[in-house]
């Protein structure tokens, strides 16, 4: 379970380029729930995700995962509980290492790393079986450098890697944004399958409203560093992209009114 309370974060405080990225953002995700997060550019989606993963320290507020306070923990400590797939396919894997070495690295996520060999024959067989489920023919290329794979292939392997070690929270950061539509579709279906298989608590940030409604069971909209819309269940089932767009316009309009009031 993720519990983010009243997160606030300001970039470049006290300067002309001051940006309030998070303005009291609160969100709770119960265990096993798959939440999609949308919002326009600068709404705070990525900042929120980075705050949860630990790449970005918040100014105030608290982040708890399954009751453990994570607010001040560095990324590598949080990794014990948090798995992550990056937007950039190149960011989530080590191009200089082989496919199996990348998987071995992910297999030990958050565990004590010792001096035994990272890729043992039994482990290699397990990797081979798991990577075969992707249907990309990668099972015979385990000792190839992962840098030789395409972006879509690397993203698919990243997803697999995220599930190699149990996690309390899976973070997906616009992980299909850099892919062509067909590959994006493949990766999104793979995402749904892996999340369902492992019953993962998942937060997926996306730029696509269609995607946000198609997968997962709850959709949250961010605007100006706050949650402005939170739909799930029956209400969400009947929703279409244009409903979401309307709501988005409405929220933005209100925000504009606020600003107009302030300026007036």
């Amino acid at each position: 379970m993720l519990k983010a309370q009243d997160l606030r974060l300001t970039f470049n405080p006290g300067t002309p380029i001051e940006t309030q990225a998070l303005r009291g953002l609160s969100l709770e995700i119960p265990s096993g729930q798959f939440v999609t997060v949308i919002g326009s550019n600068g709404a705070g989606k990525s900042t929120f995700l980075n705050a949860v993963s630990g790449e970005q320290r918040v100014d105030s507020g608290s982040i708890e995962i399954d009751g453990i306070d994570m607010t001040r923990q560095p990324v590598w400590v949080r990794a014990r509980h948090v798995a992550r797939v990056f937007q950039d396919p190149l960011a989530g894997t080590c191009e200089d290492l082989t496919i199996e070495e990348n998987m071995a690295l992910a297999k030990m996520r958050g565990q004590r790393r010792g001096f035994s060999f990272a890729v043992k024959p039994a482990l290699r067989e397990a990797f081979r079986e798991q990577i075969a489920t992707l249907g990309l023919g990668l099972e015979n290329r385990l000792s190839d450098r992962i840098g030789l794979l395409s972006g879509g292939q690397r993203q698919a392997v990243s997803l697999l890697m995220a599930a190699l070690q149990p996690s309390r929270l899976l973070l997906l950061d616009e992980h299909t944004a850099a892919l062509d539509p067909r590959t994006a579709d493949f990766v999104i279906q793979l995402t749904a399958r892996i999340v369902a298989e492992h019953k993962l608590t998942t937060m997926m940030v996306t730029h696509s409203m269609r995607q946000a409604l198609d997968v997962g069971e709850r959709t949250v909209m961010l605007h100006q560093g706050r949650v402005v819309l939170d739909v799930s269940g029956k209400e969400r089932e009947g929703m279409d992209v244009h409903h979401l767009l309307e709501m988005f316009e409405k929220v933005r309009g209100e925000a504009l009114d606020d600003d107009a009031l302030l300026l007036g």
Binding site: W76, A79, G92, C94, E101, A106, R113, A118, V119, R145
Partner: protein, 296 residues
């Protein structure tokens, strides 16, 4: 070139292959441009020579030199990781500091080892002359180091260090303490350089404060020469390439210095090295550009 010069070149080449392996770890695996080497090489020599001259066992002295090198690398890493000093600058600071430290350790600009025991003459069997036995022993040392490194970088810890150099953000997301990985990698790298310094002092009849000048360039030259001789991303081939690079490089230096018609002398060594590294760095880019022209 006589057999004697040839074996001499092989001997120095083997010693510098340890430096080259260290440089490979910092520059290639960790992507940490580390100039500490110019200080940790004479540090190894200074520690070993001073200890031996004061009556210590040469093996203990060599191990102490290796540990001293590791400490130097660790501090450079710490300056970078903890104090957030730029990597290159952190290593330059450490290199400069080591100059004074080395003088302090030796108490004078050089410590000769003439009649003192060394690891080489202690192990030397009677049937072999020293200039044959030294490269022979070094082959075993270098091979052992290479195999140990290959093995270490295939372990979970070794993999974490390689991942840190390749993609630190990803490594952190996988739970790797990347700061610690840099410290460990830098310590390992400079431990090898310290070991090389200790062996160098014991083959060359002592340690000298200026013995470290240009070590980093020689190490880098060996890495680059090795990579163009045997280009491979597989680690066990890459470490082999680096060792071959160091030996081939020393061989060519010996050839250049021994050919009267070129007219080069020992003091031209660093200039030749700098030119060689420049050529080795520029060549691949020129080749790429030409290939690009053909393709386009």
């Amino acid at each position: 070139m006589s057999t004697y010069t040839l074996l001499g070149a092989l001997e120095i080449g083997l010693i510098f292959s340890l430096v080259a392996l260290g440089v490979y770890i910092s520059f290639r695996l960790l992507r940490f441009p580390d100039l500490t080497v110019d200080g940790s090489f004479p540090l190894g020599g200074a520690v070993a020579a001073t200890l031996i001259a004061s009556g210590s066992d040469p093996f203990t002295a060599t191990i102490a030199a290796t540990v001293a090198g590791a400490c130097a690398g660790f501090i450079t890493g710490w300056l970078n990781v903890r104090l957030k000093i730029m990597d290159l600058l952190a290593s330059i600071l450490m290199m400069i500091a080591l100059y004074s430290i080395n003088l302090r350790i030796m108490g004078k600009p050089n410590v000769p080892l003439i009649a003192e025991p060394t690891v080489f003459n202690l192990l030397q069997p009677e049937m072999l002359v020293d200039y044959v036995f030294r490269p022979l022993l070094l082959v075993f040392v270098v091979l052992a180091v290479k195999l140990l490194l290959d093995g270490f970088f295939a372990t979970q810890t070794g993999l974490a260090i390689r991942a840190t150099g390749s993609n630190a953000r990803m490594a952190r997301a996988q739970g790797v303490n990347t700061g610690l990985a840099v410290l460990a990698g830098m310590a390992l790298s400079n431990a090898l350089v310290g070991l090389a310094g200790a062996l160098f002092a014991q083959t060359q009849g002592g340690a000298d404060i200026s013995m470290g000048v240009g070590t980093i360039v020689i190490g880098l030259a060996a890495v680059i020469v090795g990579e163009s001789l045997l280009p491979s991303r597989k680690l066990y081939l890459a470490t082999l390439a680096v060792i071959l690079g160091a030996i081939v490089y020393r061989f060519f230096i010996a050839l250049a210095l021994n050919s009267d018609f070129i007219g080069l002398q020992a003091q031209d060594l660093n200039l030749v090295t700098a030119l060689l590294v420049t050529v080795a760095l520029v060549l691949p880019r020129l080749r790429q550009r030409n290939a690009g022209k053909k393709g386009g």
